[in-house]
Amino acid sequence: MRRTHWGRWIGVAFILLWTLIPIYWTINTSLQTDAQVTSRPANYLPPTPTLQNYAALLTADTDTAQAMRASIMNIVIECLAATIVTVLLSTLAAYAFARMRFRGRQVLFYAVLATMAFPAYTTLIPIYKIMSWLGLVNTYTGIVLVYVSGFLPLATWILYNYMSSLPRSIEEAATVDGASRLKVLWHVVVPLARPGIVSTAIITFLFAWGQFLFPLVLSSDLSTEPLTVAIAALQGRHTVPFSLMSAAGVLAIAIPAVIALLLNRYIVSGLLAGSVK
């Protein structure tokens, strides 16, 4: 028994170290100058902590800082828009699949879920062609549409599980009182499913935040380029600005980290929804 207890703690400690050491090292590097970062032996703590890299990225009047500011704004806009549209559509779809009975419901539902099995990369070229044909390359609309199409199946599945676990009796009572489908959805189901909707929104936002390949291909300048793409562009031809890229990395993980820490319980409940009947 005691051995199990220790074993668990060793396992937890290992996973924590495995996860946190790279993040710590990124923060440590971001607080040093390039000269300190490349000195030997390595500095396990910043010898003279400095915020100069953050200043260079956020407040300086340079092309790099302008690119960073624009890309931060872009990523926030794209992620929020994708989250809102995804949650809206997935709520409607999940409700239909969970509560309505129509021919082909099962087939359609599994077809939607099956799209999650396709590696996203296989759709890159067709999506690029479609977006180009529609004139949506290098637009917020194009990037948001791609995010929505990518995240909608997962969001629908999470909300389907959540809504399926809600008691039908309250909805039936509202229907008996004369409420329409949409009224039942809006006034009864949505309030009850709020934790599930919040978790879906968080998961969608975090997934959208981490995107790289699709926005790389679909954006061509700083009018739409998100932070993840802009960070890669910091790399020089023959040199790597370690401390600057680390500071940009810290900025990139700051918002999702705060969201994940503050709203952790929603994420877990969302992912576990429907797993226990």
């Binding site: 390039d34 000269a35 490349t38 000195s39 030997r40 092309d63 239909a96 309505m100 009975r101 129509f102 021919r103 082909g104 419901r105 359609l108 890159l124 070229i125 067709p126 690029y128 062609k129 479609i130 180009s132 044909w133 529609l134 390359v137 489908r181 390949l213 790389l216 291909v217 061509s220 300048d221 793409v229 890669a232 562009a233 910091l234 790399q235 020089g236 031809r237 023959h238 040199t239 790597v240």
Partner: protein, 442 residues
């Protein structure tokens, strides 16, 4: 309308959307270019490279002279290759002028993703002034024009060599190896930097070392030239792995990439030499006080060879015009200007800091190098100019179209040999097997 009917309508709508999407995928347009392709003035072209833009005043002057406005995007090299491939595969416009890496020339020429430059510029006239142009030509098709002259070159920390009592620089590999041992005995624990991380830098290091041993990696048909134990390629691999096993290279180098080694070892005085360094690093890295602790100490030397000075192999970056460009003629006008003698000399600092292109290594034109040398604005200019004149393509008959797969086999297996999970013999055999397989098209 009952819920079932409504649901059916929703289902029909979804089906229609899916069908429309599929139809669009199948029938989307090809290149976005068209009637405006011949325009050479009054247009805005998109230039996407893995370098920062030239100073605004320089680009403004180009616009004033030609009527062509340049929209510049800096995308890191790896991401840029993805964008080029995605756009070409989808036959979609993304830039009017973009990167052509020397290693992709065979692939790009075969796939016809770029316009032949001879359709727009007098390429044969350029040859005499641009020794590296050969690296951008495959099967008579010039895919891009080198805009700077990156090539592999040996650098040494002369102070460390002098501290070890070495005043005459080595001209052969045997002398070089013996000198490194003297430097080590003089107190530099690991005098040689070889980037053994499994990445492209390890492949190019081997190519350069193979050249120094007097050979080449592949013949014109793509057949491996390094399988015999007496071949230069085999000896080069043995020398590199031997340097690690003998302690001339730090054991930690097993995970060090090329740029990492330059920045953290050579520039910090932890290594005394890089056999296959980048031309331009002395001026842009080792002599920059904010990034180096060895300013004024590192110099280029003619690459040591078997019986004397060896060759220098080219790994230059070029610029070309994708097939999907909207304004290929305007892009050609830009490339002509961007690679001109005046522009290149200016980018390298001949006209003062206001015209410098950040991270620009060395002009690809001999005439521009001459301009810089006459003005004394090139670190190690005399040596670099001579080496540039004699620099050679890694693949004299053009990089094979399957180069990326071959390079992956090279760095994966040499890395494994360095890590001790296979012998040099096994690594060479695996690389050769891959080359043979790729060359035969199987």
């Amino acid at each position: 309308m009952n819920s079932r009917t409504r649901a059916l309508r929703i289902g029909a709508g979804v089906t229609a959307l899916v069908a429309a999407g599929a139809a669009l995928t199948g029938c989307s347009s090809t290149a976005s270019g068209g009637g405006d392709a011949d325009k050479t003035t009054g247009v805005t072209i998109s230039v996407v490279l893995a370098v920062d833009p030239p100073p605004k005043a320089t680009l403004d002057q180009f616009t004033k002279d030609t009527g062509i406005t340049v929209k510049w995007s800096n995308v890191d090299w790896d991401s840029l290759q993805t964008k080029i491939a995605a756009a070409a595969t989808a036959k979609t416009y993304f830039a009017d002028a973009t990167d052509v890496d020397w290693s992709r020339v065979g692939q790009l020429a075969k796939l016809k993703w770029f316009h032949p430059m001879q359709d727009y510029l007098n390429v044969s006239k350029l040859k005499g002034d641009m020794p590296q142009l050969a690296s951008f030509t495959d099967d008579g098709q010039t895919v891009g024009i080198p805009f700077d002259a990156s090539y592999m070159v040996t650098t040494v920390n002369k102070k460390m060599f002098a501290d070890a009592g070495i005043t005459t620089m080595p001209t052969t590999i045997d002398e070089y190896t013996a000198d490194l041992k003297k430097v080590q005995a003089g107190g530099v624990q690991y005098p040689l930097n070889i980037p053994f991380a499994a990445s492209e830098g390890l492949s190019t290091y081997w190519y350069e070392t193979t050249g120094a041993f007097g050979g080449k990696v592949l013949d014109g048909a793509g057949k491996p030239q390094f399988t015999s134990k007496s071949s230069p390629g085999y000896k080069a691999a043995e020398w590199m792995i031997g340097a690690l096993k003998d302690g001339l290279v730090a054991p930690a180098n097993i995970n060090v990439s090329d740029s990492q080694g330059m920045q953290t070892l050579m520039a910090k005085g932890a290594a005394a030499s890089i056999f296959s360094d980048y031309s331009g690093n002395v001026g842009s890295l080792y002599n920059v006080p904010s990034s180096s602790t060895v300013t004024g100490q590192v110099e280029y030397i003619p690459t040591p060879g078997v019986d004397g000075v060896g060759p220098n192999l080219t790994n230059a970056d070029g610029i070309g015009i994708p097939m999907t460009a909207k304004y290929p003629k305007a892009a050609a006008t830009f490339i002509k200007w961007f690679t001109s003698t005046d522009a290149q000399a200016g980018f390298a600092g001949a006209d003062g800091p206001s015209k410098v292109l950040p991270s620009y290594a060395l002009p690809s034109r001999l005439s521009a190098v001459d301009v810089l040398n006459k003005k004394g604005s090139l670190d190690g200019g005399d040596v670099l100019a001579t080496l540039l004149k004699d620099s050679k393509p890694v693949f004299p008959d053009g990089a094979p179209s399957w180069y990326p797969e071959f390079s992956r086999a090279v760095y994966t297996n040499l890395h494994a040999a360095a890590a001790g999970t296979m012998t040099v013999d096994q690594a060479i055999k695996k690389i050769a097997d891959t080359a043979n397989q790729l060359a035969s098209g199987s």
